[in-house]
């Protein structure tokens, strides 16, 4: 990998998620989750929850309207529905992460890529984003009611002047990465199924490498905290949530 890695002594865990698989973990405040698109073909569908109160979760609308954006990149924060920051995007080489494209469902996968069931192809079987979310959410006692509008890291969807949605098939490049700094303890549930608007005719979602490392202290002039006045206020709300340790 030729992206700049973080200091080896700050890294506490490394992991790899192949395409079309799931992953979940609580990222604690003070740690950063780096996601690397190894071959420039990855899509990471992600949902976030407060492990202390699973009713608090990443909120697409609050994140977008609070920062007057429909895309996410360095400087942006991922807001919960309780006016707090779950993650800050402290580094990003991709430049755009999708917030409105959603996930594939089983029927989409069969229609686009044909049927590839476990009985025939064993662990090369094709899985949908919805299926992978529901499996991994269930392990935390979560289900359909908790499956809300998700992030799609490394994917770019934009609207034309007429509102028509477009997908940029050449967006993310090999070794593009994004660093998510946890501002409160946050349960991350993700999967690497293809983006629903990906026009590629073959089911070949890319591999994602994960690195968890200790975050440097958040300075007063922190880029994300000062990126917008809304971010400063959301960060202040989060500090109250964290005020007892």
């Amino acid at each position: 990998m030729n992206h700049p890695d973080t200091a080896a002594d700050a890294v506490v865990h490394r992991d790899t998620v192949p395409g079309g698989r799931y992953w979940s973990m609580v990222i604690r405040r003070g740690y950063t989750l780096r996601l690397v698109d190894r071959d420039g073909k990855a899509n990471v569908s992600m949902l976030l929850y407060n492990p202390q109160n699973l009713l608090e979760r990443y909120n697409m609308a609050d994140t977008l309207k609070g920062q007057h954006t429909s895309k996410l990149t360095r400087g942006n924060m991922l807001y919960s529905d309780m006016g707090r920051v779950m993650f800050s995007i402290v580094e990003d080489t991709a430049g755009w992460h999708d917030t409105i494209g959603g996930i594939t469902r089983d029927a989409d996968i069969v229609r686009k890529y044909g049927e590839h069931r476990y009985q025939q192809v064993r662990n090369d079987f094709y899985r949908s984003g919805r299926e992978l979310f529901l499996i991994e959410l269930a392990k935390w006692g979560l289900g359909k009611r908790d499956l809300v509008a998700n992030l799609n890291l490394f994917s770019k969807v934009y609207a034309g002047a007429d509102g028509v949605l477009h997908f940029d098939a050449d967006h993310s490049q090999s070794d593009d990465y994004v660093d998510l700094r946890a501002e409160m303890d946050t349960l991350v549930v993700l999967n690497t199924a293809p983006h629903p608007m990906d026009p590629a005719p073959a089911y070949a979602p890319g591999t994602v490498d994960l690195v968890i490392y200790r975050s440097p202290p958040v300075a007063d002039d922190d880029y994300c905290v000062n990126f917008r006045p809304e971010n400063t206020r959301a960060f202040a709300n989060t500090a109250i949530h964290n005020c007892q340790g």
């Binding site: 009713l55 309207k65 954006t69 755009w96 959603g102 499956l147 509008a149 028509v164 949605l165």
Partner: protein, 222 residues
């Protein structure tokens, strides 16, 4: 501005089976049967109407999904012809008439906490759509709560996106007497908050009443 499909309704107010004015800052919760048509009438103009739908038979399982609706039509704006999709991939309602032309489903509902972030930490005591939603659900017997509040529709609200990734709350293009009408394609529960937001132009800084009007099925298109 395109993505607008202005269509007037053939329905006659004299034939309506239900009419109720909902003041600003109040919720409205009502079952709508398959085939019935609901009109939301903007009485005084530029009033955001935050709306969610649930499958009446299994409200905690199937609900309106903004993302599925965008996916199905490949467009971010709602207007005549838009099929309002569920998280299960089913059509819940179809917009059959629209004299405003622009409705949003990305802006979400205001809440005390998001108002703090957007407008100032001291704004927490101001009334919000989420409070109206939660109060209406707490007073009902559907078993719904905060967990079931997903991204909603904002009828009459104008939230344009730009190709560069911008998103803003613009002045509405609605006016007194404009309306949007939708036909239920399944039995649904309709949850509305007539928005009390005073901090942005979604209600022209003056939240006003709307009227909810229902017609029985004509038997057509079912």
């Amino acid at each position: 501005m395109s993505g607008i499909n202005l269509v007037e309704s053939p329905l006659d107010l004299a034939d309506a089976v239900y009419r109720e004015v909902v003041p600003a800052g109040e919720p409205w919760l009502k079952a709508l049967r398959r085939g019935q048509t609901l009109r939301i009438l903007d009485l005084e103009g530029n009033q955001a109407v935050d709306t969610l739908f649930y499958n009446l038979e299994q409200p905690t399982v199937e609900r309106y999904s903004a993302i599925d609706t965008l996916q199905a039509q490949g467009n971010v704006y709602l207007t005549t012809g838009t099929k309002l999709m569920s998280n299960e991939g089913h059509v819940m309602l179809t917009i059959t008439a629209d004299t405003c032309g622009r409705h949003d489903t990305l802006g979400g509902a205001c809440a005390a906490e998001s108002n703090q972030v957007r407008y100032g930490l001291e704004k927490k005591p101001m009334h919000s759509c989420r409070d109206s939603f939660l109060r209406a659900l707490a007073d009902s017997d559907y078993g719904l709560g905060k967990r079931d509040l997903a991204s909603n529709i904002n009828f009459f609200m104008n939230v344009p996106l730009t190709p560069e990734g911008g998103l803003t709350f613009e002045d509405g293009i609605s006016d007194a007497g404009k309306y949007v009408e939708m036909r239920a394609e399944m039995d649904v529960l309709v949850l509305v908050s007539n928005c009390p937001q005073l901090n942005n132009p979604c209600n022209a800084y003056n939240p006003t009443p709307v009227e909810m009007i229902i017609w029985e099925s004509t038997g057509a298109d079912l």
